[in-house]
């Protein structure tokens, strides 16, 4: 079994607060992450794909094309943005657990349009000490 993983980075801001809860409840649950003015991270993504290696190109998918798909599906939507203001988080707290799932859901259909390419998993690193994975286990 062969998988290809490509890494990307983008900075974004978020506020961890559930608008349906009181300020006191949000502070209790999310602590300093609930600062209403926001804070940010250098998010790092590892996007892993699988599929047959094309005999003509020797590739599952060209890295240029993967970069374009990541750019259109993820970077254009979330880079240098306040995640709370992005449509995907209308009803979701922008924790990195939720962000990892959104990234997977944004990328999977775009990759499925590239023939038999399959998104295996997304690893989203929030800080050097926290990362979150969604998709098939390793």
């Amino acid at each position: 079994m062969l998988e290809v993983t490509r890494r990307y980075k983008l900075p974004a801001a978020h506020v961890l607060a559930n608008p349906r809860l009181s300020d006191a409840e949000n502070t209790e649950i999310f602590g300093k992450c609930s600062n209403e003015n926001g804070h940010g991270h250098n998010y790092e993504f590892e996007v892993t794909i699988a599929g047959p290696v094309d005999s003509k190109t020797g590739q599952i998918l060209s890295s240029d094309r993967l970069d374009e798909i990541f750019g259109e599906s993820i970077a254009e939507r979330y880079s240098h943005r306040l995640l709370n203001e992005c449509e995907a988080f209308d009803a979701l707290v922008p924790t990195t657990e939720n962000f990892a799932q959104i990234v997977y859901q944004d990328l999977a259909p775009a990759l499925a349009r590239e023939g038999s390419v399959r998104l295996v998993r997304v690893r989203l690193t929030e800080t050097p000490r926290n990362f979150f994975e969604y998709g098939d286990p390793r």
């Binding site: 079994m1 890494r7 290696v53």
Partner: protein, 132 residues
């Protein structure tokens, strides 16, 4: 069962070239990668097994290092993948294909059943895993 990983690094030049296509077709298909360029590859090789009760080792790392030296470093380090090896006369030396070649030679060189997986980094932002 314990897994042990050893890493090596090698530098090689290459150009993406499908031997069945013309230079013009390769240039169109692969863009800049059809030009000769190079990478600092990093290879992580994982072997698996139960530690030998006498030595406490899954495999003597001196032996693993010797296999990696013979099978990988001597073939690819400071070489041109297209011209100095026989693996890429037709198939382009993409990371997928290079990882598959390394997988094949390591499975053949390691004691039966010891190969677990490899991870080949082309650079910090792209790697290929081959499992099993």
């Amino acid at each position: 069962m314990v897994r042990v990983t050893r890493a090596i690094e090698f530098s090689a030049s290459l150009r993406y070239q499908n031997g069945r296509l013309t230079d013009a077709e390769n240039a169109e298909l692969f863009g800049l990668a059809a030009h000769q360029h190079g990478h600092n590859y990093r290879l992580e090789v994982t072997v698996k097994g139960d530690p030998d009760p006498r030595t406490g080792m899954v495999m003597n790392l001196v032996d693993l290092k010797a296999i990696l030296e013979r099978e990988v470093m001597s073939r690819f380090d400071h070489k041109d993948l297209n011209r100095d090896t026989d693996f890429f006369k037709e198939a382009p030396p993409t990371p997928e294909n290079l990882a598959s070649v390394i997988h094949e030679v390591l499975v053949a060189a390691l004691p039966d059943g010891m190969f677990d997986r490899l991870r080949l980094f082309q650079d910090a932002d792209l790697y290929v895993d081959v499992v099993g």
